[in-house]
Amino acid sequence: MIYPQTKKIMKLILTIFTILVLVSGSLMAQDKADFTRKYVNHTEFGGLFGRVKYGGFNGGAEATENRLSLTAQMFQGIKWSSSLATGITVGMDWYKTALINPVALGARYDITRGRVARLYATADAGYGFAWFHDDPQGFKTKGGLMVNPGLGLKYGKPDGAAFTLGISWKRQEVNVEKASWNNEVDRTEERIYNRLALRLGMIF
């Protein structure tokens, strides 16, 4: 099941992505003549922070818990101008009961042009696969849509390698078919991981 909300955000990010790619040509023209397209790699790792509220059936109390999962990802793309790069992002997210590999279209855009630190916008949208997730007997985990827009700071020379500190919002959908118990005939779970992603990385 695909949630309309995710679809909407995804559409938005993909539209922005398309626009970015389209305008990159004109941006390039605006840029200094000495700028040449080049390969860019942005490798990050960090944590996905979130909370969950659950329970409350049969008159029971609701409970909330903290969630933290490890995340790592690599963006590889082409730098079209001094500020814009577009490409593919692949990663791995270690949710407690799902190992998800997102594959997404991504963009990195420098908003400011400082000498030491620059603010950048980041956006990835794609699909998280459960290729490497090993299900227990009777369970089947399937991935789902993923969106991940955010902002970050780059520390380093504008034309060289830089450290990055990124803060973004990540939404990952997952579907799990579960082994049925007792009187159940069918049991499925729709998960939406809504997380705040804090990542450290390198861009070069």
Partner: protein, 483 residues
């Protein structure tokens, strides 16, 4: 609205402080005039770093703040709900009659006899289908038998259970089946769709349950298989016994030879014919019926077996009885008094059995109510029936019924389809998968040599199996349709 982001400072005073200034655009004058005023005011000097670009930036930041960072997980469960009902046996006994053909709704077990197919409609009765042309099977009639789950046919007599009773019907004219004999109050309990009924002999009533399927959603913590309160103890019985009738359709194997001509049932059948006896396994015992006068079955020995009995498979002079905890082997050389030779115990799960020569093929399945944790095919050496030994077990996906036409083993994998194996090498069955047919729901299969009958939730299929590598569908009767 237009925003500017800047740094302001008093000349000579440090540190400077950041500020954001947003002004409505409907002020009636150019916003830049305000900027100029601020910019050139005597107190402050404005360093405008960025203008319009930042608006979008703030929108993004704001959005991040607004979007929740809460995981949201919902679990949808389709649960079986039971409502108690009391049925009168007197009323039920009057309801057995042949009716015009009707469509398949919830097909249960299937049984084959000559050119006729008998398909159980769970708890309702039996469809009689003329299969003389497998490409075009024709529904002949429907026998309304309340509480029916099992079928066995010898010559022109069809044996069926109807809650507590065993009924013998004359099907000489399949369109006009008529009751010939009945053994009353012989089955004390039974189960349909995981709902158990019991006989209240004192008042001639069946304490039954109507089963409904309810869909519910729960909020979960996204990480564990949490259970809503009361979930564990809500129905402790059914863990062990649901599987028995739920998967009431798996089938395979050879019918025992005997005086008359019998039809063919399957690995999940609860009825078996052998010589002058009909063997019917219930939840906890095996009931024998003497059918030397086929139209008038007589109640005979009853053998206690312990809970969780599911299937009976006669092979040569032995009876193989599948239960949720193991496989019983009975010596049946004296059909009136079968003797238990051994029990092959395994983990708790649903398990139809078929046998060929010295090897028993047992499938173990998890799933609704079976309570096990294994999905596998086990080969058991029964050359010494008093001491069955495991040969090897193979991992499967969701094995249901099975059928053997040596060396081909047909194995239903539920919604994963049908698998065919060459079982000549008993230690390398997994390496000798002949084919895997997907795209149908396979619960039950009967191999008739060149023809293969398959039943599942979505209908009844017939295949030409003369070349097992290339099964050809001859016909299909979809659920919800009569042909």
């Amino acid at each position: 609205m237009t925003c500017i982001f800047g740094v302001r400072y008093r000349p000579g005073a440090l540190p400077a402080d950041d500020f954001v200034l947003c002004l409505p655009t409907n002020l009636g004058r150019d916003v830049s005039l305000y900027y100029s005023e601020i910019k050139y005011s005597e107190t402050y000097k404005l360093l405008v770093l960025m203008k319009a670009k930042l608006l979008s930036f703030f929108v993004v930041i704001l959005s991040i703040g607004l979007w929740s960072c809460n995981d949201k997980c919902t679990e949808t469960r389709v649960t079986r709900r039971q409502t108690s009902v009391t049925r009168s046996m007197m009323e039920i006994r009057g309801q057995i009659k042949a009716q015009p053909p009707r469509e398949l709704v919830r097909p249960g077990k299937m049984y084959v006899k000559g050119n006729y197919l008998f398909v159980n409609e769970i708890k309702e009765g039996i469809h009689i289908i003329d299969n003389s042309n497998p490409a075009n099977p024709k529904f002949i009639s429907f026998i309304n038998i309340p509480g029916n789950g099992d079928i066995a046919v010898r010559d022109n007599i069809l044996y069926a259970d109807s809650f507590a009773d065993l009924v013998a019907l004359d099907i000489q004219d399949p369109a006009q089946a008529s009751e010939k004999g009945r053994v009353k109050n012989v089955f004390k309990t039974g189960m349909f769709d995981g709902g158990m009924w019991t006989l209240n002999e004192a008042i001639g009533a069946i304490n039954d349950v109507d089963v409904k399927f309810v869909t519910e959603t729960y909020t979960t913590n996204c990480e564990e298989n949490i259970s809503p309160g009361g979930w564990w103890w809500s129905s402790p019985w059914s863990i062990a016994f649901d599987g028995a009738y739920l998967n009431s359709s798996s089938s395979a194997g050879q019918a025992a030879t005997s005086g008359g001509t019998n039809g063919q049932a399957g690995s999940m059948a609860r009825f078996a014919l052998y010589e002058n006896f009909l063997y019917a396994v219930g939840q906890n015992s095996m009931q024998l019926f003497n059918i030397s006068n086929p139209a008038q079955p007589q109640q005979s020995t009853n053998i206690e077996l312990g809970w969780g009995i599911e299937t009976i498979f006669p092979y040569e002079n032995k009876l193989f009885i599948g239960s949720t905890t193991g496989m019983f082997i009975f010596d049946n050389s004296t059909p009136a008094t079968p003797k238990q030779l051994s029990v092959f115990r395994h983990g708790r799960s649903c398990d139809p059995v078929v046998v060929h020569e010295n090897i028993a093929y047992v499938t173990l399945r998890t799933g609704t109510g079976c309570g096990g944790s294994q999905n596998q095919l086990e080969l058991v050496d029964i050359s010494n029936p008093t001491s069955p030994q495991l040969i090897k077990s193979y991992q499967m996906e969701n094995p249901h019924g099975l059928s053997i036409d040596f060396p081909t083993l047909y194995l239903c994998e539920g919604d994963k389809g049908l698998k065919l194996f060459d079982v000549k090498d008993k230690y390398a069955i997994d390496k000798n998968q002949i084919a895997h047919f997907k795209g149908m729901d396979a619960y039950d299969v009967i191999s008739l040599g060149k023809t293969l009958l398959l039943i599942g939730k979505d209908g009844f299929y017939q295949y030409d199996a003369s070349n097992p590598k290339d099964l050809k569908q001859i016909s299909k009767i979809p659920v919800g349709k009569a042909i």
